[in-house]
């Protein structure tokens, strides 16, 4: 067993004599180190008075702070005056580094996907119409989510009783799905050609529409969305 003694003790030269008035103050360079350490570890900005109280007798914290400030000029952190005190702060131009972005990949819920599809294919479409097509009520959250994702936005109000709001897809949506316009969405015949329309399982329960379809007929004269799918 070799000797395992005091290799890790504090340097007595700085430490022990620190607060005795009988010793000369440490050199300015040491004072600078002290200020640096104190400011680094402090949880609040520290005034020169506080610094003086914590540093060995005879130190000149103001001078040390000034030197230190200079030293940090242009560095990644800077020594800033905050109120009466001083504290280290990240350089302002590097603020963008103080955020880390984690990207989380999530799949859209079935409700959201269907609602989005209906809006894309039928836009401008009212909520009631979406519900009619889906055969279930559309939760506020689903539309909110799509709007928040910036894939869907409100369109013009429908000029029918109650002036319901309509929903349309956005540029962001087109971007994401690589479409030039909503008209580029594949039509029913293409869906069928792609084998997507055969997907229905025979025992899937048929849903009774919530609302009568008729009300759709007289709606928006300039964009009858159904036209896109009149394939048969």
């Amino acid at each position: 067993m070799t000797d395992l003694t005091d290799s890790d003790q504090n340097d007595p030269e700085i430490g022990e004599a620190a607060n005795s008035p009988d010793f000369p103050p440490p050199p300015l360079e040491q004072q600078e180190r002290m200020v640096e350490a104190i400011l680094f570890a402090a949880t609040v900005p520290v005034t020169t008075r506080d610094l003086a109280a914590r540093m060995p007798h005879g130190c000149d914290p103001a001078e040390a702070v000034a030197k230190l400030r200079q030293r940090y000029q242009g560095r990644g952190v800077s020594l800033e005056r905050i109120g009466d005190g001083y504290a280290f702060r990240t350089a302002a131009d590097l603020g963008f580094l103080m955020q880390s972005e984690t990207i989380e990949h999530r799949r859209l819920s079935r409700a959201a996907t269907e609602t989005l599809a209906i809006i894309a294919y039928h836009q401008p479409v009212t909520r009631a119409e979406i519900e009619e097509i889906r055969g279930v009520a559309v939760s506020r959250g689903t539309l909110d989510q799509l709007i928040e994702m910036e894939w869907v936005r409100m369109g013009r109000r429908r000029m029918t009783p109650g002036r319901p709001a309509t929903f349309v897809v956005t540029e962001t949506f087109l971007d994401h799905f690589g479409l030039e316009s909503a008209r580029d969405l594949p039509g029913l015949s293409e869906l069928r050609a792609a084998g997507l329309l055969e997907a229905r399982t025979p025992d899937e329960p048929m849903r009774v529409p919530l609302v009568e379809r008729d009300e759709d007929d007289d709606v928006d004269p300039d964009e009858p969305a159904e036209d896109l799918f009149e394939d048969d």
């Binding site: 949880t43 996907t113 599809a117």
Partner: protein
């Protein structure tokens, strides 16, 4: 070094173990008092700790320790405890028995027939164990004496908040969209039976209707006269009703129940009951 009961877990009375005997409450209390006495008195952290302490009194390098002497010291300690009617924890007694065995082996001339490790090997191993424990003690002390974080080294006092931006990237491809829409549309295709009743007049309906009416058509009558009520307007409903009715008349003509006539291309189609 004074140590509290808490610091010496191994000597702390074991509350969760099964009681060795059935004691009444007062006996248990008495026993507990005795046990706490033990803990307060010795405070060794197990027999090996006690052995190490005893070994130190030999004032030699642990490598040169006399294990025989050590065994004697230990046995004397146990004996004293017995005299003082101090109840030692079981492992101290087990150790005593083992050391007594080792002592006798060390004192007797080696038996060449004996199997297993020699008494010297056993003694050497005990010395090794003591040295190892001692080394770990020193290592622990040295570790604790290092420049520890929060004692002599410090981390940043005002950590800057790193804004954790959680960006959710929604995974939805065109195919998902199409599939969703197809799902809805497939459902839709079965729906015409439900809602197309409004706009589609089926041939079956037309047949039933014409069968009833044809008896009244002795004269050539425009097909349009046979359109059901509410379907004679314009648009899809009229087209559907007309087509169905025309198909129905063709069927009835095939059955030989009526005749169909059209004077010219695009001129009105007329029907009448087939004269008998």
């Amino acid at each position: 070094m004074a140590r509290s009961v808490k610091d010496v877990p191994y000597l702390t009375p074991v509350p969760d173990g099964p009681p060795k005997d059935e004691f009444d409450a007062s006996a248990v209390a008495e026993r507990r008092a005795e046990e706490s006495l033990i803990v307060d008195v010795d405070g060794y952290e197990g027999p090996l700790d006690l052995l190490l302490t005893l070994a130190r009194t030999q004032k030699v390098d642990l490598m040169k320790i006399s294990v025989l002497h050590l065994a004697e010291q230990y046995l004397k300690f146990v004996e004293q405890a017995r005299v003082l009617r101090i109840e030692l924890a079981a492992d101290y007694l087990v150790m005593a028995a083992w050391l007594a065995f080792l002592k006798s082996r060390l004192l007797l001339p080696p038996d060449p027939e004996a199997e297993g490790p020699s008494a010297e090997d056993m003694a050497a191993h005990l010395a090794f164990q003591l040295e190892r424990l001692d080394a770990m003690r020193q290592a622990a002390a040295r570790l604790m004496g290092r420049d520890r974080l929060g004692i002599s080294r410090f981390q940043r006092g005002i950590p800057e908040t790193v804004i954790r931006k959680r960006r959710t990237e929604w995974q939805a491809g065109l195919i998902d969209l199409m599939r969703a829409y197809a799902r809805l549309k497939t459902r839709d295709e079965f729906r015409p039976y439900a809602f197309d009743r409004h706009d589609v007049f089926t041939m079956e309906q037309a047949l039933e209707r014409i069968r009833k009416m044809v008896g009244y058509a002795g004269e050539w009558t425009d097909l349009s006269e046979f359109l059901p009520e509410g379907w004679e307007g314009q648009g899809a409903r009229r087209r559907s009703a007309t087509a169905a009715t025309f198909a129905a008349t063709l069927e009835l003509a095939r059955e030989g129940r009526l005749e169909i006539r059209q004077d010219d291309t695009f001129s009105p189609i007329t029907i009448r009951r087939r004269p008998t």
